[in-house]
């Protein structure tokens, strides 16, 4: 770490609680703007419920389109939080401090948004609960455990519950700070949530252990969630879906898009909330290094998926691959996803200058997610288009306005959620910053003073 600023506890409190405790005018404009899209999103669902799934671009062979693509995309983004937070906590990486909470909150909102999509995709969302939970004692009809569509809700429910509780537990000390610095209804609100936390050594010790223990518990869940999402596809005998590599391939893709989303979000947080003291080029440097590794691993799995589909020499696999690689628009999408998710950003991140430039990191990480959304679409739809190799009931897929609205609306929901969270709670962990100040040291090597940290 090169830049290390000495900040007093009260300054940290002031700066990190500025937005929760004071409301700038732009907040109302931003909330209103996002609200419009959310309204459109709700209207689209209304239209879909009233007129049926026919208003979407879905058809006979292609029964999963943009909605499921978007579902996979947001589940992928939700892997940001725990990946960053858990792995960095477990490895005691100092640079995690300002990143963890925002990443975890991104997890919560993107996962909740993702979960909406299979639900509305059913066409009759209010009935979905009857297909998922064992309830029907009268008729003796029970959900089929053998269907991966039942695994999905169990995994998402576990992950959502786990990450929400994770956010809350790590929020306790900061709620106590907010309690101590507010009066009136705000004080009552934060007091109730802080549960009387007062910062005894025992409470701090448990807070530290909780971070590690919950990380270790949520990490395996995080891996399972996207694996299960991948098995929605892989266990079916659809060409190019039935690949054994799908689970790790989806997980690493999720990590790639999730960590990129964290980089994008950190840049936005720094700009919007003026957090220059907390989110520094060092953090982007570290994220960039991590992304080089993750991106390359993703490329490896991507090639395994493509190469072994061709290796099989199965006629239907080869036909779909041929379509993906040589037919419009899939050939364009193939090039696009590779260029945006790997060829442009990863070589750029090899340069220290790019990694330390926040604008460059913002755009490159954004590019990755353009590529990753495309990749999900590229994975899901072509296989379905040529699913019936005997009857040749083949068709194309074009999204309708409803689906476009739903996808755009989903972004608005996640942004709105993040904005609302940041309005109520400190989006950067206050106590982690203070701990970082305590643990900061220096070592003298000859005449040089080298930054150092205390290791427990």
């Amino acid at each position: 770490m090169r830049e290390r600023k000495v900040l007093s506890d009260s300054l940290i409190n002031d700066e990190l609680l500025r937005f929760p405790l004071h409301t700038p005018t732009w907040f109302w404009f931003a909330a209103g703007f996002l609200g419009l899209f959310i309204l459109a999103f709700i209207s689209a669902i209304g239209i879909m419920v009233v007129f049926g799934l026919g208003v979407t671009g879905l058809n006979k062979p292609v029964m999963w389109g943009w909605m499921i693509t978007n579902f996979v995309f947001w589940v992928g983004i939700s892997h940001a939080g725990v990946m960053i937070s858990a792995i960095l906590r477990l490895s005691q990486a100092e640079w995690r401090r300002p990143v963890t909470r925002a990443a975890e909150v991104l997890t919560v909102f993107s996962l909740a948004t993702a979960a909406l999509f299979p639900l509305i995709h059913t066409g009759r969302p209010w009935r979905a609960i009857l297909w998922v939970f064992p309830y029907d004692f009268a008729r003796g009809i029970w959900p089929s455990v053998r269907s991966p569509l039942i695994w999905d809700p169990s995994a998402i429910f576990t992950y959502l519950t786990g990450s929400t509780l994770f956010v809350y537990v790590a929020l306790l000390p900061d709620l106590a700070v907010a309690r101590d610095r507010t009066t009136g209804w705000r004080h009552a609100f934060y007091s109730a949530l802080a549960l009387g936390f007062r910062g005894t050594p025992r409470q701090w010790k448990l807070q530290t252990i909780a971070g590690i223990l919950l990380s270790a518990l949520i990490l395996p869940v995080f891996v399972s969630v996207h694996s299960i999402v991948s098995w929605d596809f892989a266990v079916a005998l659809v060409p190019v879906w039935h690949g054994t590599v799908f689970a790790p391939y989806f997980v690493i893709g999720a990590v790639h898009s999730g960590v990129s989303a964290v980089a994008t979000m950190m840049a936005v947080l720094r700009w919007v909330f003026r957090l220059e003291n907390y989110i520094t080029p060092d953090h982007f440097d570290a994220l960039g290094r991590l992304l080089v590794t993750v991106g390359t691993a993703w490329l490896y799995f991507f090639f395994l998926d493509v190469v072994f589909a061709l290796f099989s020499q199965e006629a239907e696999e080869v036909i779909v691959m041929q379509q993906r690689l040589f037919e419009w628009p899939w050939n364009f999408l193939t090039v696009m996803l590779l260029v945006t998710a790997y060829v442009i950003p990863v070589p750029l991140w090899l340069s220290r200058r790019v990694r330390r430039s926040i604008t460059a990191m913002f755009f490159t990480s954004l590019l990755v997610n353009v590529g990753m959304w495309t990749e999900r679409y590229w994975i899901i739809v072509p296989g379905l288009m040529k699913k019936y190799d005997f009857s040749y009931s083949w068709d194309q897929f074009t999204p309708s306005l409803i689906e476009i609205t739903l996808v755009v609306g989903s972004f608005a929901i996640v942004f709105f959620g993040l904005l609302l969270f940041a309005k109520i709670f400190p989006i950067i962990p206050i106590f982690e910053q203070k701990e970082g100040q305590i643990f900061a040291e220096e070592i003298e090597v000859g005449r040089a003073r080298v930054p150092a940290v205390i290791r427990e």
């Binding site: 694996s227 098995w231 290796f311 080298v450």
Partner: protein, 465 residues
């Protein structure tokens, strides 16, 4: 003494358990690491002799096997499993050093060289690997990674992959050990000639150190990438593409992950030897065993995860092709080998290392590490012996599962001799290359301090740049 005084005394004692050990002096480190190159112990010589004998036995086994020719691929199954076992263990171990250097983990220092030195075994394994080339069937009419082209794709690329990895390993060890060779040149007058040549006139100028640091990182990253590619190519070439209808895209990744797991296990066992009989008790301690144990736990979970990813898709697919593949590799003729692999590579290390008392100890992790080393051996048998036992790979699907191929005398000699040869090469290499990285240890002393934090001693680690 009042009760309260006694309790505060107890607390002070308790706090003292956590006092980090002080730094050894730089001179002491040089004496311990470089000085040990002077003479070999009696125990060392005994082991070298014993392993050499086993290796000679292996050569005998090879001649016995080769006298039967290369036409019968089934007979060479155990040989292939042995080569891939050495590839999975010794050749993967340097990745421990590479990965921990990349993330600048401070605890790696006493471990890094012991792990990267395993790369030397790659050269030995390259020669063991060459006979396998005669066993690759023609490309026409079977699934393969390659197109049939005049240069003979599998032969060329397999040799390039394996040879490239061995060369990269040598380059990594030599580059990393350059400053250590220079230290030996300057401290051991009796072996000055050898080390003067090996150290290439190294002087510790600032520029040299910068280039050295960069070179070690880049060569390490290349070694890692090369290992992944080689593992992908060889696993496909010598098992998957020999079995008609076996097309699992996760298999090469599974093969690589098992390599990482066994690389860690190998390093753990080496560290235990260094600590107990190598005389490095002061340097190799809890921090290293614990650090590697955490990684081994994660990799053992990943073993299960990658295996399960493969299994669940086949189990759901249920086509006759998939059922026969599952029968061949897991639940049929090699089910005992599979069961042992599953138990030893996943269940035992997972349960043991999830237990705090075992994970956070010196003896626990290396003893547990023996389990994946055994498991992986049986795993290679179920993967390679089964694949080599398919007589006719020129089909689209496997229609008949061949019976179990059990080892004969030649196989036992070959396998034992091969593994003994690998250990022997490692032992011989430790006589020339210091088994603890002298420069990394010295750097560690500069960047580590024990200072008071209010009323407790705390370990402070420097993080340059």
């Amino acid at each position: 003494m009042s009760e309260t005084q006694r309790s505060s005394q107890q607390h002070t004692n308790h706090a003292q358990h956590h006092v980090p050990p002080p730094n050894p002096s730089p001179q002491q480190v040089t004496g311990d690491i470089i000085g040990r190159l002077r003479a070999a112990s009696g125990l060392y010589r005994t082991w070298v002799l014993f392993l050499a004998l086993l290796f000679v036995g292996g050569v005998g086994g090879f001649i016995w096997r080769a006298s039967g020719g290369f036409a019968d691929r089934t007979a060479w199954g155990y040989y292939a499993a042995m080569v891939m076992y050495i590839f999975t263990t010794f050749q993967a171990a340097p990745i421990c050093a590479v990965a921990t250097r990349l993330v600048k983990a401070h605890w790696r220092r006493p471990m890094a060289r012991a792990a990267e030195l395993c790369a030397i075994v790659g050269v030995f394994n390259f020669f063991l690997f060459l006979p396998l080339l005669w066993l690759i069937p023609p490309l026409k009419g079977r699934t393969s990674l390659w197109f049939d082209w005049p240069l003979g794709a599998p032969y060329l690329f397999d040799v390039l992959a394996m040879g490239g990895l061995a060369l990269l390993g040598l380059a990594l060890v030599w580059t990393s050990a350059l400053p250590d060779f220079a230290a030996a040149r300057d401290t051991l007058p009796e072996r000055r000639g050898l080390y003067a040549r090996l150290s290439f006139g190294w002087l510790g100028t600032k520029r040299r150190w910068l280039v050295h640091e960069w070179a070690v990182i880049v060569l390490g990253a290349l070694y890692l990438a090369s290992y992944v590619m080689t593992s992908t190519i060889l696993s496909t070439e010598f098992s998957m593409s020999l079995v008609p209808g076996w097309r699992s895209s996760v298999y090469p990744a599974y093969h690589t992950i098992t390599g990482l797991q066994n690389g860690i296990a190998t390093t753990l066992v080496i560290l235990l030897v260094l600590r107990t009989v190598g005389g490095y008790r002061q340097y190799v301690g809890l921090e290293q065993f614990w650090g590697l144990a955490k990684l081994l736990l994660a990799l053992s979970l990943l073993w299960f995860y990658f295996w399960w990813s493969d299994f669940i898709v086949h189990w759901y697919g249920r086509t006759p092709r998939e059922q026969n593949i599952m029968l061949l590799l897991m639940f049929g003729p090699y089910q005992i080998a599979f069961f042992i692999a599953w138990l030893c590579s996943f269940l035992i290390p997972f349960i043991c290392l999830a237990t705090n008392r075992i994970r956070v100890s010196v003896l626990g992790p290396p003893i547990v590490a023996l389990s994946p080393l055994i498991g992986s051996f049986f795993d290679r048998i179920r993967l390679y012996v089964s694949a080599f036992s398919i007589e006719d790979p020129f089909h689209h699907e496997l229609t008949q599962v061949p019976p179990t191929h059990l080892p004969d005398g030649a196989d036992v000699l070959l396998v034992v001799g091969g593994v003994a040869g690998a250990i022997l090469v490692y032992l011989l290499a430790t006589r020339i290359v210091p088994v603890l990285s002298h420069w990394e240890m010295q750097e560690g002393i500069l960047l580590r301090a024990v200072r008071p934090l209010l009323r407790m001693p705390a370990l402070v680690i420097g993080k340059p740049r």
